[in-house]
Amino acid sequence: MSADAVKIGSLELKNPVLTASGTFGYGLEYDDFFDVARLGGICTKGLSRHPRAGNPPERICETPAGMLNAIGLANVGVEAFCRDKLPTLRARGVTVVANIFASTVEDFVVIAERLDAENGVHAIELNVSCPNVTHGGIEFGKDPTLAAQVTAAVRRATRLPLWVKMSPEAGDIAEVARACEASGADAVTAINTIRGMALDVEGMKMRLANRTGGMSGPALRPIALRIVWELAEAVSIPVIGIGGIYTARDALEFLLAGASAIQVGTANFSDPCAALRVADGIHDFCARHALAPADLIGRARRAASPA
């Protein structure tokens, strides 16, 4: 195990930096920029059982220190992913976390079984928190009973490590996380976007065709950090932190709060090498302090007085 490596249950990552689902394509769009295998891992665009075209435009708009998106889970479908994308990722030695989405428990199971049959998928991340589709998604993630059901069903369908991506809109997110842990999740990812809205004042109408969109970016970071801190307390499985991480300093905050790894999302849009920059920055910080990333996990909690 190299000095930068961290473990998420049984899965070893080369370093604690992954890219967030929906912000990094299928990891094959980066040939001009850097070797994606240098990252701790990539989370794929959310894969559904069948291809999806996504929502009509407008799908995105900028907000203060953030953005809204309502892509609608446009993706090639799990079959095309396995056929057209995965072989290249596997050959390149990329650590692949397949993010999956469905509107029924049965479809979640079908997708997981399909991925389980492939070499080169290192973990599955359940998207039970997408705010931009009419059915499924966030409905599973807001309710501990439904979240437990889908987690348990997928758990039975695959031997792969299973991560569940939390919605910040669950009434009691710690309860949802505990329900997922009890149903066999190996880690929880926190957080997905928070629903927001923006209007075009001159046009007197919605900016997004979907009316609402998931908010991401630096504006989200303090909320995500607080939730990661709470979840690290609530569950004993690893927490993977995500929410507005742009720099190594941002990432270190999440590690110190209790995240075992982090995901870089919106930052990829303005800098395709953002995740690599963050990983290098964490490495430098650790070298300066003669520590390994694993030593940082939850370190700020030691100094915290009981809440």
Binding site: D200, G203, F269
Partner: protein, 306 residues
């Protein structure tokens, strides 16, 4: 075929203001940017901090060691760009997207520009001029103030102008200029078997033309267009009706510019979407479902600045 895409930190070399609304920004890229006409950059001030957050897609006006863009002040990002001073660092990602397809040597190019959409067309007109091809440029705007770089365009092409208030060129829309040119061009070039059947043109009936007469190459045209969606929709329609090839440079908001945010879908006639960043911005206009643009609230916004 296309140059490798990269993220550069480049300092502003100079800013040329054209009134308050339009500015040309030149960047200092010592090792040169190998962008082609029709390609674009994602542009963001390197010291903007967290807001405005996203880079702005901007068509290249020139390439090389001093690549440049034309901006119109529309939102916060373009306002910052309009106030930038030489030496300010910018993050430039590019060159991105598909360039204009190679002009057909057998057809005369007609460039139809609306306002800030002139940038990729002026780039194209300059390239054509270097090869000895003088394009016909039709340039429209609300008023004379909305025709940035019109004089530059006149230097490298034959320019005709239309403004809605009549303050420069003809009063009216640029699409009316195009319609007139296409009517005369198609009248001259349409031989037997033309798409509209037998018609009386220029005082002759078709049968008066020798049967062997094919359209002379000099009569055939093709159109390249960039501007507001409604303008391009009309240009595309006029061309489609006459069987004239038409290439359009799409403008939509986008967050990444390189194919991962999926924020720039453009509806296709065949159903589904193409992503303007990687399957465009330059596309065959016949592929686009232009009607659906009317339902999109921000499609007319220049370069996606919200």
């Amino acid at each position: 075929m296309n140059a490798r895409r990269r993220l550069m930190i480049a300092r502003l070399a100079r800013r040329e203001s054209i009134g308050d609304a339009y500015h040309v920004l030149y960047f200092d890229v010592p090792d040169g940017l190998e962008g082609r006409a029709g390609q674009f950059l994602m542009v963001r001030g390197a010291e903007w901090g967290d807001a405005p957050l996203l880079p702005r897609p901007m068509s290249l006006l020139t390439s090389g060691a001093a690549p440049s863009i034309l901006i119109k002040v529309f939102g916060e990002g373009t306002l910052r760009m309009a106030r930038t001073e030489p030496g300010e660092p910018f993050a430039l990602l590019g060159p991105l997207g598909l360039p204009w397809r190679a002009p057909d040597a057998e057809r005369r190019p007609i460039l139809v520009a609306g306002g800030v959409g002139v940038a990729p067309l002026l780039f194209l007109a300059r390239e054509l001029a270097e090869r000895g091809v003088r394009a016909l440029s039709l340039y429209g705007g609300r008023s004379a103030r909305d025709l940035p770089l019109a004089d530059e365009l006149a230097r490298v092409s034959e320019l005709e102008v239309a403004t809605e208030d009549g303050s420069r060129g003809e009063r009216g829309r640029v699409t009316e200029l195009l319609e007139r040119h296409l009517s005369s061009a198609s009248a001259a070039s349409r031989g037997p078997g033309g798409t509209e059947g037998p018609t009386r043109t220029q005082g002759r009936t078709q049968t008066e033309r020798p049967l062997a007469a094919k359209a002379a190459p000099s009569d055939a045209v093709e159109v390249f267009t960039c501007g507001p969606d409604r303008m391009m929709a009309r240009v595309a329609q006029l061309c489609a009706e006459r069987g004239v090839p038409c290439e359009a440079s799409l403008e939509t908001p986008m967050a990444c510019g390189y194919g991962v945010c999926l924020g720039c879908p453009v509806p296709l006639n065949a159903g589904g979407y193409l992503y303007a960043c990687t399957a465009g911005p330059c596309v065959d206009a016949r592929r686009i479902d232009w009607r659906s643009g009317e339902h999109a609230p921000n499609r007319a916004s220049p370069a996606g600045d919200p």
